[in-house]
Symmetry: C2
Subunit: 131 residues, 2 copies
Amino acid sequence: MIIRDLNEAKGTERHIHSDGWDSVRLLLKSDNMGFSFHITTIHANAELEMHYKNHLESVYCVDGTGSIEDLATGEIHQIRPGVMYALDQHDKHILRANDKPMIMACVFNPPVTGKEVHQEDGSYALEAEEA
Amino acid sequence: MIIRDLNEAKGTERHIHSDGWDSVRLLLKSDNMGFSFHITTIHANAELEMHYKNHLESVYCVDGTGSIEDLATGEIHQIRPGVMYALDQHDKHILRANDKPMIMACVFNPPVTGKEVHQEDGSYALEAEEA
């Protein structure tokens, strides 16, 4: 049994910081769960274009409000606590936070190793592509 | 892209009720994400012995407090918002809620189909075993 606490993991190597967001990885590939689990904060007023070509991701809003724009259809879906989106088609999208941070519980399949970097196209590299 | 809202899913077939807990399945096997994602409420003062023999599960506490007892070691871990436990060893455990409900974001691998029932031993049957 693995026990981890978001508040203890903040500020450790599990906590990564990027432009407009930061993320605490509570489960990574090395935990052998077959998925990774992250608590990600989208900073207030952030606008993030993302495209996870190599991963499926689900995102559940725990706190805050914003929106997600599906770049394939142009549709904009409002995000508030209780709303989940799942990028089952590796959907290219723009995530926008309103004037407070959004706290999101994120699941990635395949699991993130913790060594990925966001590439210029907004995707994470697959582990094999990092070599 | 899949968009689902916890509040809209409550009271639908996605919302299942059991003794001491209820759960809204926002993602199931049929969504082809490779995991399922549930928002589960552990009722106030519930004490639940569980053993997922066929699934790995991670559970992140969004609200409420309680504890998890690892029946292999006897250890008791306190649960509060921000604490996650992962049953990476199919750990037999007792989950206890304090005097308010606990709201948990749960990930299952393999994904739950939505047709499982909790068996007498506290596990979910695998799909193949249901036939």
